[in-house]
């Protein structure tokens, strides 16, 4: 490996070969499902549709901005969510170790981990201004919770002396995030944990009155650091029957913004919230939706939070208030 050409070739091959067929998300090739419009219509339909959408967007944006300016509150049907109290400072209860090839799916399983007692939670809120300088470790994802940056994660790892050991348990971290940060206290179960090269995928759910467990979301966590005892960090959720796709993950956003995704379900009412910390949150929209992988969107909604934002979409109302949810990380 002497010449620069050899080194470039080797590096590119190593990077490319790091992806195998097993790493690819399941996907199907495109097929002819939709009969295209006839040519004359199709030539005009797209520009016309685009023009109409732009018009609607402009009107909605202007309205939202005016409302926001006149009231000082987010426009639309926004209401403040009650802030969930931080769990008491009971001694931490580390969950059973879930390292290694644990349950590989988010399907409800009898081995679901039940929340026994609330662990002590102390999280470093996401930094108000994303700071690259503080990050010597390249996480590669939008860190959401519990650490706002790498320095905080390293501080815990090197100086915490073993306090709050739940940081080392992906399942418990995901559950604490759901209950303490999102405020979804009805979620009491870790229904499954799967680890792969991208991190841990933890099913979070609840138990219905018949004792049947259900998965509400599959959270994605990565270790915030290269050390084997680096703590877990929630960075997002995997797409399931409820997804959040707009705005793009990790992107910079400004108010107002449209939030959207896909859902499979019937008579759903998607509650969309923006969080920038446990005490800085607001519900920005409620969207009726339903169908098979049907697209949903809030349209432009105003928000006042700054810094790293956790977007949350949740739906429920059949068995309990929240039965499914998805999260997404962006920043202002």
């Amino acid at each position: 490996m002497n010449t620069i050409d050899d080194r470039i070739t080797a590096a590119l091959r190593a990077q490319a070969d790091s992806v195998t067929a097993a790493d690819l998300a399941p996907a199907v090739p495109p097929a002819s499902r939709v009969v295209p419009l006839d040519r004359a219509r199709s030539r005009w339909a797209v520009p016309l549709l685009a023009a109409v959408l732009v018009g609607i967007l402009a009107i909605a944006t202007v309205t939202a901005v005016q409302l926001s300016r006149s009231t000082g509150h987010p426009a639309g049907p926004a209401t403040q969510l009650p802030v969930q109290p931080t769990p008491s400072s009971t001694a931490p209860t580390p969950a059973p170790s879930q390292s290694g090839p644990a349950a590989s799916s988010a399907v409800p399983s009898p081995s679901a981990t039940q929340l026994s007692s609330p662990p002590a939670i102390s999280a470093t809120p996401p930094s108000r201004v994303p700071s690259v300088a503080a990050d010597d470790f390249k996480l590669g994802y939008q860190p959401l919770w519990p650490f706002g940056n790498y320095a905080a994660a390293e501080h815990w790892r090197t100086t915490a002396g073993g306090s709050q050991p739940w940081h080392l348990d992906a399942g418990q971290t995901a559950l604490n995030f759901t209950r303490s940060y999102l405020g979804f206290t009805e979620m009491t179960l870790v229904t499954g944990t799967r680890t792969d090269s991208r991190g841990a995928h933890v099913g979070i759910g609840y138990s219905d009155p018949n004792g049947q467990s259900h998965t509400a979301a599959t959270l994605h966590l990565v270790r915030y650091g290269a050390a084997p005892d680096s703590p877990w960090e929630v960075v997002g959720s995997d797409d399931t029957t409820l997804s959040l796709e707009q705005p793009a993950y990790g992107s910079r956003v400004s108010s107002p913004m449209a939030i959207g995704g896909h859902i499979t379900g019937v008579d759903e009412n998607i509650v969309v919230s923006v969080l920038a910390g446990q005490s800085d949150r607001s519900t920005v929209a409620r969207v009726p939706a339903g169908g098979d992988h049907a697209a949903w969107t809030t349209g432009p909604v105003a928000f006042s939070q700054r810094g790293v934002l956790t977007l949350v979409a949740s739906t429920g109302g059949h068995l309990q208030q929240v039965e499914r949810f998805a999260i997404h990380g962006v920043h202002t």
Partner: protein, 179 residues
């Protein structure tokens, strides 16, 4: 003004297209994702780019004069899609080029798994201007000839040589002038 006769006839994708694209999907998806990964540094985004490329190929299939050109068309779609991703990132980050510190979405341990030497090369690659990076990837990984690269990127042969030279030189400089 475009006369109707100037517009090539378009046909709806057929079962033929379904089968052909499905076969290409099975045989070439992985290599296209790898190409996208080398351009956007992010597997998930790479997969999206490739899915869009296959969708474009499927739409385009009835009008493809030369079915053998499908791979080249796919590669062009991946290049264009990757370029769009980088453009969006640049806009979002207000940064002349995507900041690898924040935009790469590789596995948390990915950097550890790659040899130190490879990491240095890849870090230098990420700092190259977009065109130089594309030329380097197509030349050293896809092993295309300069003429093929010129066709894929729609640039002159001279531009390919120039970009390859400067890209290679920049990487060498980043590696401490190693040759």
């Amino acid at each position: 003004m475009v006369r109707n006769s100037d517009v090539p006839a378009r046909h709806a994708p057929t079962d033929d297209a379904d089968a052909a694209v499905a076969a290409l999907f099975a045989s070439h998806r992985l290599s296209m994702v790898r190409l996208a990964l080398l351009l956007v540094d992010d597997l998930e985004t790479g997969e999206d780019v490739v899915q869009d490329a296959f969708a474009a190929l499927h739409r385009r299939w009835p009008a493809l004069a030369d079915r053998e050109a499908a791979i080249s068309y796919l590669r062009s779609c991946v290049l264009n899609g990757s370029r769009s991703v980088l453009r969006r990132r640049r806009t979002v980050r207000r940064n002349p080029y995507p900041d690898a510190n924040r935009m790469t979405v590789e596995p948390a341990d990915g950097r550890v798994l790659l040899a130190e030497e490879h990491r240095a090369v890849l870090a230098a690659l990420r700092l190259l201007p977009r065109r130089q990076r594309e030329v380097i990837v197509l030349r050293y990984w896809a092993e295309l000839t300069e003429a093929q690269i010129a066709t894929e990127l729609g640039i002159s042969l001279g531009a390919v040589k120039s970009n390859a030279f400067h890209g290679r030189q920049a990487i060498a400089a980043a590696l401490g002038g190693a040759e």
